[in-house]
């Protein structure tokens, strides 16, 4: 396939929940989103923070979806290029490891989606499943119906360490490489910038623990899950560093939400 072929053929679409349908975009090769992504475990973010003074202006300059009601993807009104995102880390369950590995094996292609219709906003539902690679160096998030990738699959590297996944042009997931290097207590915080292997096991324990049906058990104030969360909290607290503090903040937040007092 020539470069020209790829440029003309690479159309992708984000399934939209409201209005029901899809938001079509073309891929602009070799371009990346400007901001470095932060990962607060709850969400993967890039662009102006929703609490920042710049956000209102950003919303005015862009079109797309809003985290108020769904995952957030904002595209520049003038150029159509993806300008920012807030993507929820799923909590429904885990991606089948083999399936995740097969997507991780795809080559990365640098580029950015450019939205075609920039008149109206839409909703993009959050995805369902997640998977932390065995070596802790990649987080894979996927739609529950995403198949094994084939020649029509695309791993679009939209920025440093962040890829969007498409199958037959349809948005199916995202990958964050070196998740610990992007770990922050809150979106907008400065990222650690480097991996910390001491946290791989603790992060895996968090992701194993804070997921359905455990979250439902937490909602019932299950003492066993509570004890495991407290133990995790103590373990994380014994590790120093920016990433550890971010993870600690996430664990404490869960404890505060489900086990106040």
């Amino acid at each position: 396939m020539t470069t020209t072929d790829r440029q003309t053929s690479q159309i992708v679409a984000f399934p939209t929940a409201q209005p029901e349908g899809e938001a079509r975009a073309r891929v602009e090769q070799d371009r990346a989103i400007g901001d470095v992504a932060t990962w607060s475990i709850q969400t993967l973010n890039a662009g102006p923070g929703r609490s920042s003074p710049r956000y209102d202006q950003h919303v005015r300059d862009t079109v797309g979806s809003s985290y108020d009601w769904s995952d957030e993807l904002r595209f520049d009104k003038r150029t159509g290029r993806l300008a920012s995102f807030v993507l929820k880390t799923p909590e429904v369950g885990e991606v089948e490891p083999e399936l995740a590995r097969s997507w991780l094996a795809l080559p990365r292609q640098a580029g950015i989606p450019v939205l075609e219709d920039r008149e109206n906003g839409f909703h993009v539902d959050p995805l369902d499943l997640r998977y932390l690679a065995d070596d802790g160096l990649a987080l894979v998030v996927m739609d529950a119906k995403a198949p094994v990738p084939d020649r029509s699959s695309l791993r679009l590297a939209i920025g440093s360490d962040v890829d969007l996944l498409f199958h037959h042009g349809r948005y199916s997931g995202w990958i964050l490489e070196n998740p610990v290097a992007h770990l922050v207590a809150a979106p907008g915080d400065r990222i650690p910038g480097s991996d910390d292997p001491r946290l791989h096991g603790l992060l895996r324990e968090y992701l194993t623990l804070v997921v359905e049906p455990n979250i439902a058990r937490m909602s019932d104030e299950d003492p066993e899950v509570h004890a495991r969360l407290q133990a995790l909290c103590a373990q994380v607290r014994s590790v120093d560093g920016v990433s550890a503090r971010a993870l600690l903040s996430a664990v404490e937040r869960v404890l505060e939400t489900f086990y106040p007092g």
Binding site: Q18, S51, P53, R60, S65, Y67, G121, P126, S219, S249
Partner: protein
């Protein structure tokens, strides 16, 4: 009682470009290098209002933004010897206070958590056990600050004497200090500490009063048409600046006087506000009483103090506030000899000394901080009894149990048979709101101040769940809504809000008309359930939602 020496040089410093109203929040300079104060940062004629930046941890009141640059925030600050106003970069100001009475503090070399806890909470500390609890509070309220100014681990409050200084301060960093009653209210989150219910109730009531008074000031611009008159034009163009001065004064200097809750102290707040306005208008040398202004000031404070968040009463207070300003403008115009063209007659000082302002009430045996303590008293109107009227009325309201707050168990009833997880989320969120606590999502997008969010949740008329995978919960009170996370690890965390009690913002104004500082469009039950809440172009439609309570 003698009138204090008048402030001189009232209209001084370079002219500051009038701001676009909006924001209306109390905040602090949250940068270690402070914040330069500009007259017009967007234009080439920009100058600095003062040579030095506003120091880190300076309390400011944010009244709005630059008309051409929303990133530049218009602030008013009461420094130890002067009031200054102008534009600073928005990101240098933190308006997300952990509680309304919180203060930002720059940790000094050698300062310790124990020493700071003693200084800040001395009136609440009864023994070594309590002191350790308050050190834990310092750690707790600063845990999410970055870079951290407090570090360490919670220490055992039961351990008397000795100890290992588990909680440490980092010199040169900024940290939050909270009021003692608020610290006590954290006992469910912070290890140990004994709760003094009366103190907590008192501070909640008090904060409600202050918030209502501030609302009556900042929302006064919505009532200009109802308080018209030939002199109204004299203040119309300067209203954002004047409300900034008054609101900054209330937060920086007057809270202690209100908290002291003595009629004389509270009444003198009204007197000082009048003096401030006169000084701002360049009429600080006026020696004569402003009887009409005193009357309206008393009405303003009394109505606002007893409003209990009621929109109609706050609107009535706002009108009295405007009438007070018009009375002052009339006096000031006469003083400066203006007989026509009122619209441009008054200039507002970009900075003015506050050393001549009268003293306020004292609390805890000490004088008020700041420059307002330098004077000795004030005579405005026929007697000090006039200005004390406001204080008397307000105190009586509290004695009668009418002041602030509301029925503890108000709010929506959760129907029997509702999904137990949704029931749990609703109960937790409402319970937290009743305790004055708000868990904000990491992606929180504010449209309301925290007090309004808490009130909407606490006293919601109805609760809904949105369609779609995200399944947000919506709390509606009247025509305002608050959106929180649905089931999940962040369940109940507040995401955003919409409605007339918030602001449209730039995007809302562009799509719906009006200006960014206007209240948002009303949200009705029908709009929520049919997915027809108005949104600006480019923003997604709001999903339909199903009512789940009551």
């Amino acid at each position: 009682m003698q009138r204090a020496p008048a402030a001189t040089g009232a209209v001084s410093g370079p002219a500051v470009t009038p701001p676009k109203a909006g924001i209306d929040k109390d905040g602090f300079i949250d940068r270690k290098d402070g914040a330069n104060l500009h007259t017009d940062p967007v234009q080439s004629a920009d100058r600095l209002v003062r040579d030095q930046p506003l120091p880190p941890a300076t309390r400011v009141f944010v009244s709005g933004t630059h008309p051409q640059g929303g990133d530049w925030w218009y602030v008013t600050a009461f420094l130890p010897d002067s009031m200054v106003r102008g534009y600073v970069q928005g990101f240098r100001v933190n308006t997300q206070l952990p509680e309304p009475l919180a203060e930002l503090h720059l940790v000094a070399d050698g300062e310790t958590a124990e020493g700071l806890a003693k200084k800040q909470f001395s009136s609440a500390v009864s023994d070594g056990h309590d002191l350790r609890y308050y050190e834990n509070v310092l750690l707790y309220v600063n845990q999410s600050r970055h870079p951290p100014g407090v570090r360490g681990t919670y220490q055992d409050p039961g351990m008397l004497g000795g100890g290992s200084n588990n909680v440490q301060l980092l010199a040169g960093e900024l940290i939050w200090l909270v009021s003692a009653p608020y610290a006590k209210s954290l006992q469910s989150a912070v290890p140990s500490g004994s709760l003094t219910g009366g103190a907590v109730a008192k501070v909640k009531r008090f904060v409600g009063h202050i918030e209502d008074i501030l609302r009556s000031v900042t929302e006064s611009r919505h009532h200009f048409g109802e308080v018209a008159g030939e002199y109204a034009q004299a203040i119309r163009d300067h209203l954002p600046e004047i409300t900034g001065i008054v609101a900054a004064f209330i937060m920086a200097e007057a809270t202690s006087a209100f908290l002291a809750a003595t009629p004389t102290g509270v009444g003198q707040v009204a007197a000082v506000v009048i003096q401030l306005a006169l000084a701002a208008f360049g009429a600080a040398g006026m020696a004569q009483a402003v009887v009409e202004a005193v009357k309206h000031a008393s009405e303003w404070l009394t109505i606002a103090w007893t409003a209990k968040g009621d929109d109609a009463r706050i609107a009535a207070a706002s009108k009295e506030f405007l009438k007070m300003l018009v009375s002052i403008a009339i006096a000031a115009l006469a003083y400066v000899g203006v007989k026509g063209n009122y619209g441009n007659a008054l200039k507002i000082a970009s900075s003015m000394p506050t050393g001549g302002l009268p003293a306020l009430a004292v609390i805890g045996g000490g004088p008020m901080g700041g420059g307002a303590g330098a004077g000795t008293g004030v005579l405005l109107g026929p007697s000090t009894g006039s200005v004390a009227t406001a204080g008397n009325s307000m105190m009586q309201a509290d004695k009668d149990g009418q002041g602030g707050g509301g029925p503890e168990e108000s709010g929506p009833k959760v129907p029997e048979g509702l999904d137990k997880r949704l029931t749990k989320i609703i109960r937790d969120v409402v319970q937290r709101a009743r305790a004055g606590k708000l868990l904000k999502a990491g992606n929180y997008h504010p449209h309301f101040d925290d007090a309004t969010v808490l009130e909407i949740i606490r006293d919601a008329d109805a609760i809904y769940q949105s369609e779609g995978k995200a399944g947000r919960l919506i709390f509606r009170k009247g025509s305002d809504i608050v959106v929180v996370e649905g089931p999940g690890s962040a369940q109940g965390n507040v995401i955003t809000g919409y409605g007339p009690r918030g602001i449209k913002g730039d995007s809302g104004a562009a799509a719906l008309g009006g200006v960014a500082s206007d209240g948002g469009a009303p949200v009705t039950d029908a709009m929520v359930t049919s997915g027809t809440i108005p949104v600006p172009q480019g923003r997604p439609p709001i999903p339909k939602a199903v009512q789940i309570a009551p």
